[in-house]
Amino acid sequence: MTYDRYGEALRLLGYRGRPGDEKTLQLIKEIFDELDRTGSPVYTAAFYGLQLCHSGEVLFSNGWTVYSNALYEHLKTCEKGVVFAATLGADIDRQLKRLSLTDIAMAAVLQACAAVYLEEFCDRVQAALHEEYPLEMSGYFMTDRFSPGYGDFTLSHQKMLLEAAAACKQIGLTCTERYMLTPTKSITAVIGLSKTNICRQANSCEHCNSKTCCYRRETE
């Protein structure tokens, strides 16, 4: 299946696999063009050794322990992990608020397109990790990104991941008291590194248990 950013945006706008109408597609195109032209996403990544001794316990090499079965399952067989954080920056938040006042349709479309654009950026960064960090990555296979909020890897882990990636200092990414990332168009994640080729995509839409979710990616 080839990747289709328009399809992804439509999915987030609730189209559930239906084709987009001309006006919406035009709006999506305009917004993607603008994001491609002016977007300045940034990321930071930090490498840690991992120990997975007891079920549901993931020990990072700086001494931090995360208790999460979901993360444990995701990282099983991994010796190392990349703590990853990325953001589109504060301006998108301002634009979203401004558009909410002047053109709510455009605000909704920007919301969706920005999410797609951020995922694309993260995919690109992840694909380039081997090139960027040849030393750390050599001989390792990667799992997908696994983010707080998934399974029992609770949102409260945002704080720890931000610190582990020095995200505030490196890219200005912070979180609120209730662990929401600010700026809002941002991601934190752990990527597992394993010597054995594992195809672990627990974070993806198709593997989610919410079968009736209106954003669910329709598969053939």
Partner: protein
């Protein structure tokens, strides 16, 4: 010795990285470095000593993250750590027997984003910084170094904290990305404008970039700064090696670049991440003793927002006058209702028309001016990047707005009365600003140009006694109504000429006053604006929606040679012509009903006007708008039409409703009832709530939108103060905030009048919504409309 005695006269050297050195001494990633001042005193002292022997003049304390919040769980308070850190630096200086070294109390960012982007309140940030600064100053620091700031608002909070808690000199540096931008959008120009307004003692750049990458931005900064400049880059760009972060620029190369930076005109040099005593040693060996370029006042008149800087050099600045309730019943009502959406839309409209600065005035009897002006500024700055002109005759209101304003504002106004100067100038000195000076005093408004010039002189002289320079004064020559005295406009123009010739000061006018009482006022206004620009007008307060004014402005700019290649004039004309063309091709064979269904905003507005020539407003609503909205709503629910289309139709319907309401006049805008909506406390994602709001308004409900991150008490208060509220809508996106939804509902049930509550948001389910006490689970935007209609029996 005070550092200010030598600052700018000789090159001073900061030390290098603390974190990098602690790392070499075995600190683990994730371990709190600041507590090492207490737990590993010798290590920290030895690092300071290594920098001293390398030639550093200024030691930076190990307090980058020294806040109670960041120290949580370490067993130490910010106060304890700050005192210990200063002590370690003092010991190092004593042990090395240095006499001419300084201790900079290091203040880094809080690690939280300020409101409205994040959830840290401005005063909370000031208080956090104050705690550390107070302790560090008392312990014997010689200056405060605020550094690695990536948000201008947080930077301002830190500077104010320093100014309010101690008398130490303040240095402030920010972190730029490779494009020269701060995370929240600022650049060197906006940073210089704000920091110079706040009267720091030195300013500059640190971290993130290596010296090579920082060089171009350092040059830009030096070009515009009128204060000593501090440059402390990393030892190159960080690179991962194994689990380590390494920096590639060694001491020799670092020094080469720093030499260039010194020659460009920097006055204080040092190193950030990755730099070591070896870097500082190489640098001081080569550069110590060279004479820096003198600090020159660039004499720039500028104002700024968090990201944009407007300079009063070269062209007349347009200040939009529309956000002022005088004579504007709708804005008056909006301010009484605390409807800041109206204010923000008014601001966005003026920006789209080409305003460079927006005047903001909350002078309306019967409201709390201070709170209202503050809220207007806060809300405007959440969506508009133009600098604002804070407009009030009330010192308290001005102070609150100036304090929280993100950037360097225009301040409207001071006048020649001693009382006014004594009120306003201390505020300008403390918070920064370009202040409008009205040429009137205790005797009233002089009838001659010479009289007004005299007052201008008096104001400028008095400002100087407060440490405010002429460049931060913009004199209002006062526009008097020409219909009340034939000579009035001539006197104003003559005053402008005199102000330029005798004082070489910036000038401003509220242009529109000239035509009061005359028909077709814009003709007079446009003519007067052109003549005033010829006479040397630097700032024009006008209505940017008046096309003839904008025509006059852009034309005069061209004729006065202030519009290179006539570019602005051409863009202005394109802006006006383009929408007209779009309008022309509308409307053929299209009905209003179809235009709304197709989501054609412009056409819907025009077609509504057409229909209103034939039908009564209510008929237009009943026959076209309601059926169109119903059709679209039904199609959305059937899944044959989707959210963007639903919302485009909503926008089109809104454009039509706006025209219909205008036609209805006073009786227009009867709503079905009032709905209070909010995104609950802790939640900062509000797009869903905003969509529901847009649709509710479309369906003729009055919406009181409390915004995002709303405390339960505020929801309760809104329901209590508006007695016609029967329905409250709450949204939450994340699992971590759903419990606040429950708290809000519980509070409403316990202490509020009987209201229905609908709840929505990505993580909610019907079962869950009902279990936390909601009356209705709004699965999507249309579901909330139907429920509102049923509650209000529409």
């Amino acid at each position: 010795m005070n550092i200010l005695d030598v600052l700018g006269k000789e090159i001073l050297f900061f030390d290098g990285a603390m974190g990098t050195m602690l790392h070499q001494h075995g600190i683990k990633p994730g371990e709190n470095p600041d507590v090492w001042s207490v737990t590993h005193p010798k290590t920290v002292r030895d690092i300071h000593k290594a920098y001293l022997t390398s030639g550093a003049d200024i030691l930076t304390t190990n307090t980058f993250g020294c806040t109670d919040k960041k120290l949580e769980g370490t067993g130490y308070t910010a106060k304890e750590v700050a005192i210990a850190a200063v002590q370690r630096a003092k010991e190092a200086i004593q042990e090395e027997k240095k006499t001419d070294c300084f201790i900079a109390l290091d203040i880094g960012p809080t690690g939280k984003l300020l409101e409205p982007l994040g959830d840290l309140g401005f005063e909370e940030a000031v208080a956090t910084f104050s705690q550390t600064i107070q302790a560090g100053a008392k312990a014997g620091a010689d200056l405060v170094l605020i550094e690695t700031m990536s948000d201008s608002h947080e930077l301002k909070a830190a500077v104010l904290a320093a100014k309010e808690t101690c008398n130490l000199p303040v240095f402030a540096t920010v972190v730029l990305d490779k494009n020269g931008k701060l995370l929240t959008g600022g650049d060197v120009y906006s940073v210089v404008a704000m920091l110079e307004g706040l009267h720091v003692d030195a300013l500059g750049l640190n971290c993130s970039l290596g010296p090579k990458e920082m060089l171009p931005w350092a040059k830009e900064l030096i070009k515009v700064a009128s204060l000593p400049v501090v440059i402390t880059p990393n030892a190159g760009l960080p690179r991962k090696q194994g689990e380590e972060t390494v920096f590639d620029v060694g001491p020799e190369l670092f020094t080469q670049y720093m030499e260039q930076i010194a020659h460009e005109g920097a006055h204080v040099l040092g190193g950030c991440c990755g730099t070591t005593p070896a870097h500082i040693k190489a640098m001081t060996r080569r550069l110590k003793g060279i004479t820096p370029k003198p600090v020159i006042d660039k004499n720039r008149t500028v104002v700024s927002s968090f990201s944009k800087t407007v300079s009063f050099e070269g062209k007349t600045v347009l200040i939009g006058e529309r956000i002022n309730p005088t004579g504007k019943p709708k804005l008056k009502q909006a301010l009484k209702d605390q409807d800041y959406d109206y204010v923000m839309r008014e601001g966005i409209g003026q920006q789209d028309k080409g305003a460079h600065v927006l005047d903001v005035n909350a002078g309306l009897p019967g409201i709390d001016e201070s709170e209202t002006l503050f809220m207007m500024v806060k809300q405007l700055q959440s969506v508009i990047d133009l600098p604002l002109q804070l407009d009030s005759a009330d010192g308290k209101a001005l102070e609150k707005a100036m304090r929280h304003y993100n950037g360097k504002p225009m301040v409207n106004s001071v006048n020649g009365k001693q009382e006014s100067m004594d009120t306003v100038f201390p505020l300008v000195k403390k918070y920064g600003g370009l202040v409008v000076a009205l040429t009137l005093d205790e005797e009233g408004i002089p009838e001659t140009a010479a009289g007004r010039l005299h007052i201008a002189k008096k104001i400028i002289d008095c400002a100087q006694t407060y440490g405010i320079q002429k460049k931060d004064i913009i004199v209002d020559a006062l526009t008097m109504t020409v219909s009340a005295g034939q000579e009035n406009a001539k006197i104003t123009l003559e005053t402008l000429r005199l102000l330029k010739k005798e004082l070489d000061v910036n000038t401003i006018l509220g242009v529109s006053n000239v035509s009061f009482g005359l028909p077709e006022r814009e003709s007079i206004n446009a003519g007067f604006l052109t003549m005033a620009m010829v006479a040397g007008l630097d700032g024009a307060i006008i209505n940017p929606h008046a096309n003839s004014m904008m025509d006059a402005y852009y034309s005069a700019q061209v004729i006065l040679g202030k519009d290179p290649q006539c570019g602005e004039y051409i863009r202005h004309k394109e802006r006006i012509v383009a929408p007209k063309k779009a309008e022309e091709k509308t409307a053929e064979n299209l009905t209003l009903l179809e235009a709304v269904k197709k989501g054609l905003k412009q056409q819907a507005g025009m077609l509504a006007l057409q229909e209103l020539t034939q039908y009564a407003p209510l008929e237009v609503i009943e026959n076209s708008l309601i059926p169109a909205l119903n059709d679209v709503g039904n199609a959305f629910e059937k899944g044959t039409l989707f959210l963007p289309q639903l919302l485009m139709s909503a926008e089109a319907a809104k454009a039509a409703f706006d025209e219909v309401k205008k036609a209805m006049g006073e009786s227009g805008g009867q709503s079905h009832g009032t709905v209070v909506i909010a995104t609950v406390e802790g939640d900062v994602h509000d797009i869903g709530k905003n969509i529901v709001k847009a649709l509710l308004e479309n369906y003729q409900f009055r919406v009181i939108d409390l915004g995002k991150d709303v405390k339960p008490e505020r929801v309760l208060e809104a329901v209590k103060t508006h007695d016609d509220v029967k329905l409250v809508g709450l949204s939450a996106l994340m699992t971590t905030t759903v419990d606040n939804m429950k708290k809000t509902i519980t509070l409403l049930r316990k202490e509020g009048p009987p209201v229905k509550v609908m709840a929505g948001g990505a993580v909610l389910t019907e079962e869950y919504a009902l279990s936390i006490g909601a009356d209705w689970y709004a699965k999507d935007a249309m579901a909330s409309i139907h429920y509102a209609q049923s509650v209000y029996q529409v």
